[in-house]
């Protein structure tokens, strides 16, 4: 119980930091860009393509902006505490290091949640303006994006627990890019021709990637929306559970690294 109070205290301070440092102004700006650019892009295509464009573009923008926020906030989260030396007074309090990391992570998830809600609101507004009915599957798509962002931010925290912000940012973004290709690599591995057949020596590498990296394509249902294929709640729940498993592993690894660190 006390542990939960401490974790939530760190989480609410992390959230307050973003709010006070005007991170949300940037978010509103992002929402405005989404609205105007969606409307503008949809103006450029013929009328019967407009619906498809605002659907696709909106989802892409929410996902892209979310990943950018997750990487930037995530890699700076621990680094800023070290750089500003605030970590000394915080970790000398009755607070375990894992509580600190969990609190930071939950605070960041709150920021991402608000970000996703604001951007989704802007997207729904554009859909409304373009006479596209807001369907339940859009909400499911947004939930899945949030699941993906929870993994990306946990990766960012893991790297930032031992590396510099620039390297952590590069590694995290790299894992996001590879994660989005895991499905494709998996298909290549089972195919009777292609890269892994012509170059079998790199097959173990492909297998390792599909086993270690998270399959982030699970969280992208843009194609299903376009083809009007049903996305079930069970699928959403399973994907979110998959995200939770990765988050638990990543935060546990970050804690292991952080536990051994000296704060000189």
């Amino acid at each position: 119980m006390n542990s939960l109070i401490r974790i939530l205290a760190v989480a609410s301070n992390t959230f307050r930091e973003s709010a006070r440092q005007r991170a949300f102004i940037g978010l509103l700006l992002g929402a405005l860009i989404l609205v105007f650019s969606s409307l503008l892009v949809s103006e450029l295509v013929v009328y019967d393509q407009q619906r498809r464009v605002v659907q696709d573009f909106g989802l892409f923008f929410i996902s892209f902006a979310g990943v950018v926020i997750a990487v930037i906030v995530g890699v700076l989260l621990v680094y800023k505490e070290l750089e500003r030396k605030t970590i000394y007074s915080l970790l000398s309090k009755p607070l375990f290091r894992y509580e600190f990391l969990l609190g930071k992570y939950i605070g960041m998830l709150l920021v991402l949640l608000i970000g996703t809600v604001v951007l989704s609101g802007a997207w729904f507004l554009v859909l409304f303006v373009r006479d596209v009915p807001v369907r339940l599957v859009f909400l499911k798509a947004v939930l899945l994006i949030f699941g993906e962002l929870s993994i990306v931010s946990a990766v960012a925290i893991l790297f930032s627990s031992f590396s510099t912000p620039v390297l952590s940012g590069i590694f995290t973004f790299g894992i996001f890019v590879v994660g989005r290709q895991v499905y494709f690599i998996d298909e290549l591995l089972t195919a009777s021709k292609g890269l892994f057949v012509t170059a079998p020596q790199i097959r173990p590498l492909g297998e390792a990637v599909t086993r270690i990296f998270p399959d982030l394509s699970l969280f992208d249902v843009a194609r299903e929306i376009l083809l009007e294929v049903e996305v079930s709640w069970l699928y959403v729940a399973q994907s979110l559970a998959y995200a939770l498993c990765y988050v638990v592993i990543l935060i546990a690894l970050a804690t292991l690294v952080f536990q051994r660190r000296d704060f000189v």
Partner: protein
């Protein structure tokens, strides 16, 4: 016999720095113990290993070897942590917070309930002289005000042991006086205070016991009084009409002689002064002043540091 509040045994800390992973011994096997209710000074020049030792005590740094215990427990133990307050050197806090919000946040970590938190925050801010700045964010605080906020956050958990790393540095004379008063009051409240400083005069006045370290090694551990006893005690005598043969004898026995017109200033070791005063009176000299001079921590420390450098050569 009471058990020590803080015990450091054969503590060593080695860092590997730079690309070449050069080994630097920051702390080289120091041991000392702090008893309940003491004001304990931790002395040493810059780079002596004071902050490394304190961070090890606060579990921010893990020792290479040796042991640290707080209230008989390892420094990471939650029960021990609840009884300790810490002010880091040159403290930085979340500058987007007001001091009351900072204390509110830290108070939650100590598990203090909401009503008690509010009561303590108001009282502490008044105590450290920040009552007037409650609604200002820490971003607008001066260095001295930040130090006060730092002291308040160290005391929010009502700790039995208060550890302060260079608490007096960066304060103006009034701020220093006020902070020393706060430290003295902590003693009357029965708290143990462990604080580091390279300003020796502060420690001489405040501390019951001291540890002196230099280049990561222990130089002295004991009561401040005992340490001062190891210093030279001298007597300065100013007189007129002192016979030349008496001055020659003083010089030959290691005393110092300075002439100012018809007056002479003589400085001799404390134990020789009594005999010299008698001889001066017997010789018909006019005594103007006999002033005992005790070497302070400042002089003693400089002398000790000089000796250790000589030994190193």
């Amino acid at each position: 016999m009471t058990s020590p509040v803080l015990k450091v045994e054969e503590l060593k800390k080695t860092f590997k720095v730079g690309f070449a992973r050069k080994v630097v011994d920051a702390v080289r096997g120091i041991s000392f113990a702090v008893e309940p209710g003491e004001i304990f000074g931790f002395l040493g020049p810059n780079g002596a290993g004071k902050t490394t030792t304190i961070k090890t005590v606060m579990d921010l740094i893990r020792p290479t070897s040796g042991r640290v215990s707080l209230f008989g427990k390892p420094p990471g133990d939650m029960d021990a942590r609840l009884r300790v307050g810490y002010l880091p050197e040159q403290p930085y806090f979340y500058d987007y917070l007001k001091p009351s919000e900072l204390l509110e946040f830290f108070g939650k970590l100590y598990g203090i309930d909401s009503a008690e938190r509010k009561r303590r925050i108001d009282r502490l801010l008044d105590r450290v002289g920040l009552g007037h700045a409650k609604d200002r964010t820490l971003r607008r605080f001066s260095k001295g005000m930040l130090q006060r906020a730092g002291l308040a956050q160290a005391l929010i958990g009502n700790p039995d042991l208060v550890i302060l790393d260079e608490p007096l540095s960066g304060l103006d004379p009034i701020g220093r006086k006020e902070l020393k008063d706060v430290i003295s009051n902590l003693r009357t409240e029965g708290k143990t205070v462990f604080f580091s400083s390279h300003i020796l005069a502060d420690i001489e006045l405040l501390c019951d016991k001291i540890v002196i370290i230099d280049k990561g090694k222990l130089r002295f551990f004991g009561s401040t009084r005992d340490f001062l006893k190891t210093g030279r005690s001298e007597v300065e005598i100013v007189a007129a009409g002192v016979p030349e043969e008496l001055l020659a004898r003083v010089t030959s026995e290691g005393g110092a002689v300075d002439r100012f017109g018809n007056r002479t200033k003589i400085v001799v070791a404390g134990e020789r002064s009594h005999e010299l005063v008698k001889a001066l009176l017997a010789a018909g000299a006019d005594l103007d002043a006999v002033v005992p001079r005790t070497e302070g921590l400042e002089e003693l420390f400089v002398r000790m540091a000089g000796k250790s450098e000589e030994a190193a050569r």
